[in-house]
């Protein structure tokens, strides 16, 4: 169609005062506020939860999720979705485990490069075949899983000599898990690159209004392929983290991280329809999701109630963090 109407039918109340602006600024911090609130709640439920060791462990746990979510955030910002990240990470753990004996230290960059390539290929299929990313990556998910199953001989591939990936499982100064530091670094690098280059506005334009972006001469196709490529590379890097702590690779190792990763993105307040959001938000989102995943059972919530609470809290968290001033219609 050709004639959507941009009119926001219900417009803001008339009082354009300072508190409105503060409120708007506050929405940027909402993911953080949600994080702190959740931590407080868990601590009340079980005072033991708020120890340095406990928090360090949670940070370490969150690292692969942060990286996965950060990469996929770019695809979401472009208005698409990448459902293949978890399967790709699983496949990458298999590759890494298989290649470590021969390639040693080169295995890590090799796996990341291969994962980036696979991501880019999906992006290419999405762009060239004009297929919804949902379908391309859903298909990609099954294909990558099948490949992982076959390549691994349907089993765990043990890593005997993990000396070249071990560094990722160390602690900086005893307190900061290296993997978490690296995850934050990945987020920071992506954020900085977006900030100082035109990429940020290209991605947003693509996400908000692809046809307008294209008619403005924005390299929409390249931007999308690039986003899928980075998403793939991040899946590869997350896989390296997993191998470094699992001492093995497995064809389904990371599969269950898909929904948590998407949840992390949305909880961070990035609009699932594209355009608005950031990788920082996804970082906070990943921490919220991790706290929910490990926190609820650890403070003693029984399994059935844990699921119910998870469902309720995650919905409330999104209700808090989503910056609705940028999106008039929520689907």
């Amino acid at each position: 169609m050709s004639t959507p109407v941009a009119t926001k039918p219900i417009d803001e109340p008339a009082t354009v005062t300072r508190d409105r602006r503060t409120a708007r600024r506050l929405t940027g911090f909402m993911p953080l506020i949600a994080l702190v609130a959740l931590m407080a709640a868990l601590t009340v439920a079980d005072p033991d939860f708020l120890t340095q060791r406990s928090l360090t462990a949670a940070l370490r746990t969150a690292a692969p999720l942060i990286v996965l979510a950060a990469g996929a955030t770019l695809v979401v910002l472009c208005g698409g979705i990448d459902l293949s990240i978890a399967a790709l990470a699983s496949l990458s753990t298999v590759f890494l485990a298989l290649w470590l004996p021969d390639l040693g230290g080169l295995a890590t960059p090799a796996v990341i490069a291969v994962a980036a390539t696979i991501g880019a290929v999906q992006g290419l299929a999405h762009v060239l075949l004009r297929l919804p990313s949902f379908i391309v990556t859903l298909g990609g998910m099954s294909i990558l899983s099948a490949v992982a199953l076959v390549v691994s001989g349907a089993g765990t591939v043990r890593v005997v000599d993990d000396s070249t990936v071990k560094w990722l499982d160390l602690y900086v100064a005893g307190y900061v898990p290296m993997s978490t530091a690296m995850a934050v670094l990945v987020v920071a690098v992506i954020a900085v690159i977006l900030r100082v280059t035109p990429l940020r506005s290209w991605i947003s334009a693509t996400g908000y209004s692809e046809s307008a972006a294209r008619l403005a001469g924005t390299p929409v196709d390249l931007v999308k392929i690039g986003a899928f490529c980075v998403s793939g590379a991040c899946a590869g890097f997350a896989a390296v983290m997993l191998v470094s702590r699992q001492f093995s690779g497995g064809p389904t190792m990371a599969d269950n991280l898909l929904l948590p990763a998407v949840a992390a993105i949305v909880v961070g307040g990035t609009a699932i329809t594209g355009g608005h959001g950031s990788v920082w938000r996804s970082l906070a989102g990943a921490l919220v999701v991790t706290l929910l995943r490990v926190g609820l059972p650890i403070v003693g919530v029984p399994s059935a109630y844990e699921q119910i609470l998870y469902g309720v809290i995650i919905v409330i968290a999104v209700a808090l963090t989503l910056d609705r001033s940028k999106i008039s219609i929520i689907k």
Binding site: S54, A57, Q246
Partner: protein
């Protein structure tokens, strides 16, 4: 500088120094929504109660990463006198659990899944690994199936989650059984992922594919066997095709009893849930010293029984009793060392 361990935190107690009341018991399985694993947690609760403690029940929804996350978090707390009885999601999940527990000095018993070259004997607090011999059980029910169909004809196989040791070993057992019986033909094998629902559709499809040639169905666990039974009922073939499974869940034992299923193999969830905690508890409280545990008991196959119509009645109720968990008896059900 970088360190391998995180700073701070509790020192593990020296072996055997724990007061019984200081011991913390943790049982971890996939979920509470299947009968087998629910019985595991119930067994754990029963044991904990018998020593005046409570079991912390953890479930991870079959999600490997979530299992690791929970273990990490548990180990980041006070690990003095911590005893864990863990069902690792897959082979690959065992190593990090073991290494974590070892570092933290928590007493650990694992069950079902572990890579062959990872050995409890090489660790201080990884007390034992318990499993059932999948090759044997696969073969036992294979043999029983073949006997039921009269030693010749076609069968189909429903495999478990393809990348688990249980699925692979059990299927290897079936293949061994088939080797001995050249008259029996494996018409088809499909993965139904240990799931009742998947087994139902796959079986229906295989029944139309192979028609009357199907005389028997070999399923790598009882859930799938029960799914296959439903498929047979829907195809009007109840009783005409023999079905076997593994796990001896109540419904399957009942089916064996009334003849709709040919055989299953006991793996006793209630016992598994209790025994892991019992072994750890005994070591933590000094009633058992790790160095005194026979090497063969550090990683062993537990006794399992083929259940057919003849002995099904004996298995209708769980055979676990409190005396199984006394420190002198904890290795009573050892059938042999892990191969």
């Amino acid at each position: 500088g970088c360190t391998e361990e995180q700073a701070g935190g509790a020192e593990a107690a020296s072996e055997g120094a724990c007061k019984p009341s200081d011991v913390k018991l943790v049982g971890q399985v996939r979920n509470e929504s299947n009968p087998y694993e629910a019985s595991w947690l119930a067994g754990g609760d029963a044991f904990a109660k018998s020593v005046g403690l409570t079991q912390e029940r953890l479930t991870y929804a079959g999600d490997s990463t979530k299992q690791q996350e929970q273990i990490n978090q548990i180990l980041a707390r006070d690990t003095e006198c911590l005893v864990m009885n863990v069902l690792p999601n897959g082979d690959s999940d065992t190593a990090p659990i073991v290494k974590g527990a070892d570092r933290a000095g928590a007493y650990l018993v694992t069950q079902w899944n572990k890579p062959a070259d990872l050995k409890p004997a090489e660790y201080k607090t990884w007390v034992s690994h318990i499993t059932y011999d999948g090759v044997e059980s696969g073969q036992q029910i294979g043999d029983a199936l073949i006997k039921t169909i009269g030693g010749s004809g076609g069968i189909i196989a429903l495999q478990g989650v393809l990348d688990t040791a249980a699925a692979k070993d059990r299927f290897a057992g079936l293949q061994a059984s088939l080797k001995k019986n050249p008259g029996v033909q494996l018409l088809d094998q499909q993965a139904a992922n240990f799931s009742r629902a998947e087994a139902l559709t796959v079986t229906k499809t295989l029944l139309t594919k192979h028609g009357d040639k199907v005389k028997g169905i070999w399923a790598a666990n009882d859930d799938m066997a029960l799914g296959a039974l439903e498929a047979l009922q829907q195809a009007g073939l109840t009783g005409k095709v023999a079905v076997v499974g593994i796990d001896a869940v109540p419904d399957a034992v009942r089916a064996v009893q009334n003849g709709t299923m040919a055989a299953t193999v006991s793996s006793d969830g209630t016992w598994q849930g209790g025994i892991g905690l019992a072994i750890g508890f005994c070591v933590a409280t000094g009633k058992l010293a790790v160095k005194d545990i026979a090497p063969d008991n550090r990683a062993f196959f537990a006794e399992q029984f083929l259940i057919t119509k003849d002995n099904a009645a004996d298995f209708a109720a769980p055979k676990t009793n409190p005396s199984d968990f006394e420190c002198g008896n904890v290795f009573n059900r050892v059938a042999g060392p892990l191969k």
